[in-house]
Symmetry: C2
């Protein structure tokens, strides 16, 4: 009976039946409670083809490290990137404002758990659901290629 149970567990695990459906593939990152109340790091704008307005928010560990200019970020740092399609303001012809939300993405610092990816775990969510494994396989490669010298973090604190 014990052997049967172990086999069932192994099968369930390999098919993802025990995986947390709310967690990102590869990294197991989930959407942190209250991230929408976190402090502003910086906005950004993405031109074609994404055409997005974005804002990066950070938890208190993130903002403390940013303000002190300390790298690497400490374990416990979490960054959240919110993105929306940008659309013309109905009020000002020169302004663009957020349209539909597109993705919410997180970087979670845990230097032991994520030792093989610079200490960072990644999670990309669309309508509250994690994106697929293929999308998550691209995260670290790009951060590593472009901003390894900033502890793999693109966004700088807005002045």
């Amino acid at each position: 009976m014990k052997r049967l149970c172990m086999a069932a567990l192994a099968l369930a695990s390999s098919t993802g039946a025990f995986a947390d459906s709310a967690a990102s593939p590869i990294y197991g990152v989930t959407i942190p409670d209250g991230y929408r109340q976190w402090e502003l790091v910086a906005p950004a704008q993405e031109a074609d083809p994404l055409n997005e307005l974005r804002v990066v928010l950070g938890n208190s560990a993130a903002l403390k490290a940013y303000r002190e200019g300390k790298l690497p970020f400490p374990d416990g740092t979490v960054l959240a990137k919110l993105a929306w399609k940008h659309e013309p303001s109905p009020d000002f012809k020169t302004a663009s404002i957020p349209g539909a939300a597109t993705t919410v993405q997180f970087m979670v610092k845990d230097s032991k758990k994520y030792a093989s990816t610079g200490g960072w775990g990644f999670g990309r969510f669309i309508n509250g659901k994690p994106a697929d494994e293929a999308q998550h396989q691209t995260c670290f490669a790009c951060h590593q290629a472009l901003v390894k010298d900033r502890d793999y973090v693109f966004t700088r604190l807005a002045p």
Copy 2:
């Protein structure tokens, strides 16, 4: 002596010698402590000629009203609009990020104090100093002309 003193006071007052140099003309709005830690309302982007990235933050009264969809905003609401020149990201050719800070602007709701301007006081600051009276004379006219039906507030809560 009393008459002389009153005359001196009147003169000083008329020349602005007793005005708070940190407060906006017309409205007397000052930069609120800790506004940089306030919660995100929404980002925006301004095309030519301003070429700015902007973020509106709000205090807890503001966010509560936004979330509940309640208009008018209650007394005590404060909105902060931070703005930066947008400049190309050094990392991604499709991205724009904050360059130099340009202005920080506030709207303060006090329906008695600011009864003649829809209940809102306005403050526009450049490098921490209030902009001149001429600039402050334009605030309410524009908000009144375009968004009177949204309690004079342009920015909507980002989804």
